[in-house]
Symmetry: C2
Subunit: 190 residues, 2 copies
Amino acid sequence: MAVPVYVVLLHFPVVNRHNELVTTSVTNLDIHDIARTAKTYGAQGYFVVTPIVDQRDLVNKILGHWRTEKSKRFHPHRFEALELVKVVENFEEVKKKIREDHGMDPEVIMTDARPIKDAESYVSLRQKLESPEWKKPVAIVFGTGWGISEVFYPQIHRVLSPLYGPSRDGYNHLSVRAAVSGIMDRLFGH
Amino acid sequence: MAVPVYVVLLHFPVVNRHNELVTTSVTNLDIHDIARTAKTYGAQGYFVVTPIVDQRDLVNKILGHWRTEKSKRFHPHRFEALELVKVVENFEEVKKKIREDHGMDPEVIMTDARPIKDAESYVSLRQKLESPEWKKPVAIVFGTGWGISEVFYPQIHRVLSPLYGPSRDGYNHLSVRAAVSGIMDRLFGH
């Protein structure tokens, strides 16, 4: 893909079921599943964002386990996917790293299972990203817990519609792992 | 959706990395994530297939924990999704249960990350399933491990193409949880 794409998973600032601002825990499977999805859909990086030092240490420990010659030999696909993962303290650091690599800030795109005003369709965004005029790197941001907190909204340039099944007012409670997959497929799948 | 759709997750007959026939273990997250995806995309049921009695007992124990009044009150979305799950011994039982509910055997559709001859496109299958002429219930079958074994192929009526990202010869090693989500979205998403 022409446009550099990054997947971002926020563990803060997100909300819990009572819409309170919380920090969620990193899970091992979110690292693995989303890394494999990011790699499949051509992302250049997958940022795991958590302000908690111990959690960042944990992720780096897991990554260290997989980033060995032995792992590269026996689990090449896993190795390749996990190469994309970077664990960082906050979203400023995500932007800083993208700026270092591409000389400009990313277009920040948020996704949410809750309907949000002025959300863009997948078809519309896909067309824009595929056009030769599009130059900016793209950060697609996903929230854990019950979704991204409003305190993050000033960072956002675009919001994507929720994924729906057959009914627009039906059940749409995908896991974040499943949502990342469906959304990356709509934007970059073939 | 008009057509009754079922998601089927096989733990046997599947293959390991050496293409040997094996039985894989059930994982808790495959139950939860795929149940939520099945519910989101309007499936009427999600069959977890394993020949191992202890594994079926384990799944039923997990389901029992969630199928309580307390869980229904505190985790309604989780409860609703897990209502779809049925654990069965083999694929014959899947067909038997679908036959009991709909008076006919399902159309059996296999998906695989490996390219298979005469695979059908998502657009083509979606059009057929949306047409008023389509009457049969549909079972979409996913394999764990390194994919569905050839010994299962006589059961299959149709094969879907693998999901790809930007490149057809690129990395496509999604987790089964991510693959179910991408595929259900292509067939039934809005």
